[in-house]
């Protein structure tokens, strides 16, 4: 994927034009500053228009952007003293999930996240961020370790999904995911989950049972990819754009449906445009979440987590078929 996305084309064109005029001014010694100023005002408006009115599909593209910051990028900018811890102690070390111990604002934490690769070689090593069971089991090992030492767990979610492969099934992909769900439910330390890119179905949820669920503005969370949904609904993966709207998978949509706690604003044009500033936004969210959660008694925390998930669902309790008969 190139760095520019299709919906950004008018902005890029205008930006290029402005820089051409600037070069022209310099080289030919002609004063075009009025013209340039006008165009810059127009650019500002255009950016506001385009980035302020993104479709679900635009956001999907940003969530998948090859330059989009990954878990390790945020770890570098948000934490100190990070030490990566490897392996699930059963089978292997899955590079599609990274985790370790660190300090956040001076306090010890455990941090875990899906890790997409950067470039082909890294992507192969990290299996494009799609974990095998050993990845989920490593995550769980680190969470239990965090519980023992009473430090909060921070999870970054960024995966197309759990790896659909033969070896993954043989080693119990379903069990590994399910186990994380129930163990996270009972973990007696605060858990903050932040979707930073794609939150693809069960493989995302396996790091997602937390006390706070946050999403970056241009990230997605879904039960099935837009392409997969389109193939099922309209027998045409090309209708992914339409499926992305229908499925309500963007941060603004999910905030409105009250399925997430917080939407973290993004740098205009996407997190990759300014990692430092974006990390600053995430830091604010993490700080206030941990401040609140650290005040809660560890047993109450588990009870509140149960209540939080127990109320998710839309149903009608009165009007069943049998009642009507």
């Amino acid at each position: 994927m190139s760095e520019q996305l299709p919906f950004e084309k008018p902005i890029i064109e205008l930006r290029n034009k402005i820089s051409e005029l600037k070069t022209f001014t310099r080289e030919k010694d002609i004063d075009l500053s009025d013209e340039i100023k006008k165009l810059e005002v127009r650019l500002e408006q255009l950016e506001e228009d385009i980035y302020g009115n993104m479709t679900a599909w635009d956001r999907v593209q940003l969530a998948r952007h090859s330059k989009r910051p990954t878990t390790l990028d945020y770890i570098e900018h948000l934490f100190t003293n990070f030490m990566e811890l490897h392996g699930d102690r059963f089978y292997g070390d899955d590079a599609a999930i990274v985790g370790g111990i660190a300090k956040f604002e001076g306090e010890p934490v455990t941090v875990i996240g899906h890790q997409r690769g950067k470039g082909t070689k890294d992507n192969l090593k990290r299996n494009f961020g799609m974990p095998h069971p050993e990845g989920f089991r490593k995550a769980l090992r680190l969470m239990k370790q965090a519980e023992k030492f009473n430090r909060p767990v921070i999870c970054f979610i960024d995966t197309k999904g759990a790896y659909p492969g033969k070896s993954a099934e043989e080693r119990g992909q379903s069990e590994a995911i399910a186990k994380n769900l129930i163990e996270m439910a009972g973990l007696r330390v605060p858990i903050v989950c932040i979707v930073i890119g794609e939150g693809g179905s069960g493989g995302a949820l396996a790091l997602g049972v937390g006390d706070r669920i946050c999403m970056l503005e241009n990230s997605t969370y879904s039960v099935i990819s837009p392409e997969g949904a389109a193939a099922l609904l309209w027998k045409d993966a090309g209708q992914a754009k339409r499926a992305a709207e229908t499925m309500k998978i963007t941060a603004p949509d999910l905030k409105e449906l009250e399925l997430i706690d917080e939407m973290i604003p993004e740098i205009r044009g996407g997190a990759h445009r300014n990692l430092e500033a974006q990390s600053g936004y995430i830091r604010q969210t993490l700080k206030s979440a941990l401040l609140e959660l650290n005040k809660i008694d560890r047993n109450d925390l588990v009870e509140k987590r149960y209540e939080k998930f127990n109320k998710i669902g839309e149903f009608d309790d009165e009007n069943g078929l049998i009642a009507k008969e």
Binding site: F128, M130, K160, G161, A162, Y163, P164, G165, K166, A168, E169, R171, G172, Q173, S174, E175, I177, A178, K179, L181, I182, A185, G186, G200, S201, G202, L205, G208, V209, Y221, S222, V223, I224, S225, G228, A231, L232, A237, T246, M247, K248, I249, L254, L257, L259, V302, R305, Y306, F309, N310, I312, G313, E314, F315, E318, N319, G320, L321, I322, A323
Partner: protein
């Protein structure tokens, strides 16, 4: 990379093996004349439906386990007349305003006489009290949406409060796509509820029947203190076709069957239908607290 997950799995499956014997609904069954015959999809034997019922809908010749409705499963599992249903009027909403979802749910309600893909309630097995949930694959392919999650969680809460064992028969293609992230979150919701039983030391027996895949396999169905399965059930996370596309290999025939899972250490036992009630009785007896 496209992840076909949830309903796809079951859709694949049903198009491949369309020759399931039709299990008539309760009303329809009473109207079926004596002597109606059915053909076994596996060995092609022609069997009287009445005879098939005597063997718990398992083929006498080849042990093929026919698909069961939730009603039939409850009849076979619980002591006669002991079942008390919970929340039977709960029906799905359409939180995403998803194309055709309301209509399809209504059609399934009409065709199956069920309000949703799970039936929950209380009853006894060999005199021992249990809370039970049984999924019905005829309703939206047994997929898990908000109603399945809510009914299960209410049943689990009762099991926790009354300190009764919880038994769940899974039969599902996974999460219900038409409810989007609401359905994904039912995986977390049911698992979080099961943690109540875990913390109170209450028994949960999970029985996986054909098929148990996607988000159901990757949540409550895999979380039993004891995990059982019926013979030759399809159990797995990802669909066969998507795995074959991903790894560019053909998978062995027994891939993702109950027997395959047993071989790979994922199940406690594969239990033929005729032994299910006695197996459950034994487990319950061992877990009785005085």
């Amino acid at each position: 990379m496209r992840l076909l997950w949830g309903e796809t799995v079951i859709r694949d499956l049903f198009t491949k093996k369309k020759k399931y014997a039709t299990i008539p609904s309760e009303q329809a069954k009473q109207e079926v004349p004596e002597g109606l015959m059915t053909k076994c999809p596996q060995c092609k034997s022609i069997i009287y439906f009445k005879e098939l019922k005597k063997t718990l809908l398992v083929c006498d010749h080849c042990e093929y386990h026919h698909r069961l409705s939730s009603t039939e499963r409850i009849e076979m599992t619980l002591d006669e007349g002991s079942f008390q249903e919970f929340d039977k009027n709960m029906v799905a909403k359409d939180p995403l305003n998803f194309p055709d979802y309301k209509e399809k749910s209504a059609l399934d309600r009409k065709n199956t006489g069920l309000n949703e893909a799970v039936v929950t309630g209380s009853g006894t097995i060999s005199g021992m009290e249990v809370i039970i949930g049984v999924m019905d694959p005829r309703f939206r392919m047994g997929s898990m949406g908000s109603v399945v999650g809510e009914k299960m969680c209410r049943a689990i809460k009762i099991a926790a409060d009354e300190r009764k064992p919880f038994i769940m028969f899974a039969a599902s293609g996974g999460a219900r796509m038409q409810e989007g992230v609401f359905s994904l979150m039912q995986m977390a919701k049911t698992s979080t509820a099961l943690n109540l039983l875990h913390e109170k030391g209450i028994l949960f027996i999970s029985i996986m029947t054909h098929p148990t895949t996607g988000g159901v396999s990757a949540s409550f169905a895999s979380l039993g203190d004891i995990n059982l399965a019926e013979p030759k059930a399809l159990i797995g996370f990802a669909g066969r076709r998507i795995i074959e596309q991903t790894i560019r290999q053909k998978l062995p025939d027994d891939f993702q069957t109950s027997e395959f899972l047993l071989d790979h250490g994922q199940l406690d036992q594969v239990v033929p239908r005729k032994n299910m009630k006695s197996t459950l009785t034994n487990i319950l007896e061992i877990h009785q607290t005085s």
